[in-house]
Subunit: 214 residues, 2 copies
């Protein structure tokens, strides 16, 4: 995708984008706070909007539901990480999966809420079907975006099967890593899930590279 | 999982199970009929219940939402297919993925709605976020069940990373196949998605087995 020269548009664009990011973050934080305090079922969009000092109408400019506000996952890799991956060397499946694991772990490390908060949210997702469904839909949006970035790296079509399969494999690996991380929460002592994502990609590549499933 | 001898319990179990299966199928059919006629947004659980001749209370014994009734995917492989896969030979990743592709394609062929109906439903899922989210949640339930069956085949723990990763890869492949199938609906001339699932597993195994991503 072509973008205009950042030098020319940065001041105005930057201000508006920053304000939007701040409101989004405030709505997310208000949702997490209220859900912790009152339990997911008892929190409404009206309550979140009041807590964040905006109208419900504004809330819906940012999120389609309280479930979405609870996760507030970005739908795509940041441009810098996507470029780093797309411009990486090695077109073979193993190199692509290795570098995907790297950028996804880096992304989680930078973007993530505090590990404690993330654990709380994943636990709610286990117990509330609509939250799990929203989490999976957000993962699928990342997956679709990722397929385009993988296609850039490998020179294949964005809706081609190879890019789609690799994106699906990568996101299945991230989800598996998050499950492992949340299962062993007593062991990782406040550390975030990035290390688990790296481990899972290593396990994936070993699984695909060796003879017997272990 | 151990089950009781089917010879002993079949007569009673069979009758109740058959009645449940029939009511479930009627609710699903009523949902599809109404959604086609009126559009997804205009259909309510009350309307579906009336159409199927049951109370809304009964509806909720079968499905948590109209979204779930629209798909009505079974949450697990039928026992006969699961056994065939678990007892298959070959513990290496490639053999496991090959046999997974076979049983999942067979399952889709047997269980599936008419191809036309399935296309309609997938098209609704593309456009309605809550339907897509429900579809993904139902896929995740199948994935979790599949991990247990894969663990049976490979002799690894059911919540172990290998079984989970393979199940995630398999379901990502099924989802990719359904996308390809629904994208090329004008080409497959009324045929169901089973052939696409077989093709996608072949593409997956080639992708994992060869040097460059194509």
């Amino acid at each position: 995708m072509l973008t205009t020269d950042p030098q020319q548009t940065a001041p105005t664009e930057g201000l508006r984008a920053r304000r939007r990011r701040r409101t989004r973050a405030e709505l997310h934080a208000a949702t997490v706070r209220l859900v912790r305090e009152l339990g997911f079922a008892h929190v409404t969009v009206d309550m979140i909007s009041t807590e964040a000092g905006v109208s419900p109408r504004t809330f819906f400019n940012y999120f389609p539901s309280k479930e979405a506000a609870l996760f507030a996952l970005p739908g795509s890799l940041p441009a810098a990480l996507a470029d780093r991956f797309a411009e990486g060397t090695g077109q073979d499946t193993d190199a692509v999966l290795r570098d995907l694991g790297d950028v996804l772990a880096d992304h989680l490390q930078e973007a993530a809420q505090s590990p404690r908060e993330m654990e709380d949210i994943l636990r709610i997702a286990e117990g509330v079907p609509s939250v799990l469904a929203t989490f999976l839909a957000q993962c699928e949006a990342v997956e679709r975006d990722l397929a385009g970035t993988i296609a850039r790296r490998t020179g294949t079509p964005a809706d081609g099967e190879s890019a789609e399969l690799l994106a699906g494999i990568a996101m299945a690996t991230v989800r598996s890593a998050l499950k492992q991380w949340s299962r062993t929460s007593d062991l990782h002592d406040g550390a975030g899930p990035a290390a688990c994502v790296r481990d899972s990609f290593t396990a994936l590549r070993a699984l695909l590279g060796r003879a017997a499933v272990k």
